[in-house]
């Protein structure tokens, strides 16, 4: 093998560090990726891979971003991935040839134990002193050369969130000697005495390097005193969440009207330009009425994610976890469950994967089982559709009634999750309470680039879903709703005689006690693939059910005319528990390595959804007649 061909072989490089030290930000900076970053620990729970080319040598690097770990002795699943990857214990994955240990310059005491353990592994190591600008601002003093001497490995300053903040790292990386061929390192978990010795060594090195702890600004101390106050803290948290849900409705009105107008215009243009026939119906009733009715909710989803990303980047979320620890503890959940449950507001799938940061198996299982009760973003179009059709858009004091109802639905999901967790932790998943140990990150002004990238990613994900699985399902549903053609002399819309009509009428027997008509019953089926598909399915089914002038009308007025208020409330109650999401069930199977838990989850969610919708429909029918 020639030297040139060796240089073309990608070098395996791993990014390691304690949680929330900026590994993923550095990974994104080096590889040009857009992996999720946030200002709290536990964002990365699996290894992520990217590549880049060394600017001077032309050497290709295969870069692994590993989950945060405080040491090579794991207590959680995500830390185990890091250790196993570094030691070459992952099947089909060779150990890295070089390691970059990212350390938080503002908190070196916590970071250096891992550096010393990595150094002992013998893999060529480079230390990236990240957030060095922040450390300097806070008055941290450090003799970099002395630190390098004491550690015996190169140390370089980086600012992962700034353009060019990785330049010095790349220069030193390229200058590292090629790794020597050697057998894989053996690693034995250290004894208590060995850990104590390492901690003493950390203190000695920091003292020798003249390291001074950063001074905390008084304003931030005061802010924490307020935000973490036992009375003011929860009040601030409630006010913040309340504001977010108000904004989701009031700020989205204009952009939603614009998207709606665009979708309606496109439908009318297609209707006018293609002669009546199968293709015309497919495009107008299937694609535009189906996928278009989901697309209308894009502004609301973007506004919700704007606030979530803002809170993530600011450092507020771990403080919210601290505030809610007592409440979580009272139902038997670990405080560490907060971040996975919060992630579930976006989608239950990453939320369930984030439970890898929970060390106790029973706590982890309980969190997995309740994660789907958090209101994921896919439910938002369903809620927004029904609220827009049935809840008047009028002020209630300083608030908007529609926003209040949406807030109530989110709270209902949280309360349901707490009650289920309470029941689980008192019965099948009984475990002792583990107090929350959480590192509170420093407050930061949200990074505009991160915010925009995060929103862009959400936009892409949503549009990709609408353009792929939702669109495809709408086309299939259009076919099922259009064929077979009605028999000669049949009256009423043709859809009633179609496959979809037959399926809907069969399902109606099951869901009639909840007040659901055959169209709603049918829409629940494609909703198994993704919950928001139910909105598109209603769009297609109602578009094909309509006749004459009604064809041009959008979904909101159609369902407002067809459903009773009791039915609408019943469907909202159903969706608080909504068991239909195949991806969630699949990921539960994968994370628990058993079919038992997804089966139990689907069963209990279906039972709760049915019960809640039944009670809501009966009570609402009695009160409203």
């Amino acid at each position: 093998m020639s030297a040139a061909s060796v240089a073309l072989e990608p070098m395996r490089l791993a990014l390691v560090g304690v949680p929330n030290c900026g590994k993923t930000a550095l990974f994104n900076r080096l590889t040009g990726s857009r992996q999720k970053v946030a200002n709290y620990a536990g964002v990365t729970v699996e290894r992520k891979e990217g590549s880049f080319v060394g600017p001077s040598s032309g050497q290709r690097y295969r870069l692994l971003d590993l989950p945060g770990a405080y040491s090579l002795t794991p207590t959680t699943l995500d830390e185990a991935i890091t250790r196993d990857c570094l030691l070459g214990r992952l099947a089909g994955e060779a150990p890295p040839e070089r390691v970059v240990c990212v350390v938080d310059a503002t908190n070196l005491r916590l970071n250096l134990r891992l550096v010393l353990e990595l150094r002992d592994l013998g893999t060529p190591l480079l230390v990236a002193l990240n957030m060095s600008d922040l450390a300097r601002d806070r008055g941290v003093r450090l003799d970099l050369q002395r630190l390098e001497q004491e550690l015996g490995v190169p140390v370089v300053e980086t600012v992962a969130i700034r353009d060019g903040g990785e330049r010095a790292l790349l220069e030193r990386l390229e200058a590292l000697p090629p790794p020597a061929a050697r057998p894989a390192a053996e690693w034995l978990d250290p004894t208590f005495e060995q850990i104590q010795r390492t901690q003493r060594e950390v203190r000695r090195i920091l003292h020798a390097a003249g390291y001074t702890e950063p001074a905390r600004r008084r304003a931030l101390q005061r802010l924490d005193a307020l935000v973490l106050h036992p009375v003011a803290g929860p009040a601030i948290l409630a006010a913040l969440l309340f504001f977010v849900f108000q904004a989701v409705f009031s700020w989205a009105a204009v952009p939603m009207a614009l998207v709606d107008a665009g979708v309606t215009w496109l439908g009318a243009a297609l209707q006018a330009s293609i002669p009546p026939g199968a293709l015309n119906s497919l495009l107008v009733d299937g694609v535009i009425a189906g996928a278009g009715s989901v697309l209308v909710f894009l502004p609301q989803i973007m506004i919700l994610f704007f606030f979530i990303l803002l809170l993530e980047d600011s450092g507020y979320l771990p403080r919210a976890a601290y505030l809610l620890d007592r409440m979580m503890g009272s139902v038997g959940l670990s405080g560490r469950a907060f971040i996975p449950l919060l992630s579930s507001f976006a989608c239950a799938v990453p939320g369930i994967m984030a439970t890898r940061t929970i060390p106790n198996v029973r706590d982890r299982l309980a969190t997995i089982m309740v994660a789907p009760l958090m209101t994921c973003s896919a439910r938002l179009p369903v809620y927004a559709l029904i609220i827009a059709a049935f809840i008047p858009n009028r002020p209630v004091g300083a608030f908007n009634l529609q926003g209040l109802v949406l807030f109530t639905l989110y709270v209902a999901g949280i309360v349901a999750a707490m009650l289920v967790a309470y029941a689980l932790k008192r019965t099948a998943l009984r475990a002792t309470y583990h107090p929350l140990l959480l590192e509170l990150p420093e407050y930061k002004w949200p990074n505009l680039r991160n915010l925009m990238l995060g929103l862009w990613e959400r936009l892409k994900i949503f549009l990709q879903r609408v353009g792929t699985i939702i669109l495809a399902l709408m086309i299939v549903l259009w076919f099922l709703s259009s064929y077979p053609a009605p028999p000669e002399g049949a009256t009423g819309p043709a859809i009633q005689h179609s496959f979809a009509g037959m399926i809907g009428r069969t399902l109606e027997h099951v869901f009639a006690p909840l007040g659901f008509n055959w169209q709603i019953s049918l829409a629940l089926v494609p909703g198994l693939a993704a919950r928001e598909v139910a909105v598109g399915a209603l769009g297609t089914v109602y578009s094909l059910s309509a006749t004459g002038d009604e064809v041009a009308a959008t979904l909101v007025p159609m369902i407002a005319q067809s459903w009773s208020l009791a039915t609408a409330l019943s469907l909202l109650a159903w969706y608080v528990f909504a068991p239909q999401c195949l991806s969630t069930l699949v990921v539960v199977k994968r994370e628990t390595n058993s079919w038992r838990y997804p089966v139990i989850m689907a069963g209990y969610l279906f039972a709760l959804a049915y019960l809640a919708a039944f009670v809501t429909f009966r009570v609402a029918s009695a009160l409203l007649t």
């Binding site: 002795t73 699943l77 497919l282 799938v349 198996v361 991806s583």
Partner: protein
């Protein structure tokens, strides 16, 4: 014209059915099918575009977990560490 529209609509529906089946099938089965498709395409004599397309399908199948694009980067779940607290 009606027949032409019906043929185009039929092809679109067929494509959608294949995509839905592909997207919603279990990840392991999808990966096996994609690998088989890529291996078949790599046999000599196949057009280059087919080899490239099959390779892209295989890469996509490796990345995807299920019907949810949020979790497209998901890797297999790790083996629990030995010292997990199990009460």
């Amino acid at each position: 014209m009606d027949v032409g529209q019906a043929i185009i609509a039929g092809l679109i529906v067929l494509t959608a059915v294949v995509y839905v089946a592909w997207a919603l099938m279990p990840a392991a089965l999808r990966l096996r099918l994609a690998q088989r498709l890529a291996a078949d395409a790599r046999r000599t004599g196949r057009p280059a575009w087919l080899v490239r397309a099959a390779g892209a399908i295989e890469r996509n199948a490796r990345r995807r977990l299920g019907g949810c694009s949020d979790c497209s980067a998901a890797q297999p779940a790790p083996v629990p560490p030995k010292r997990l607290d199990t009460d």
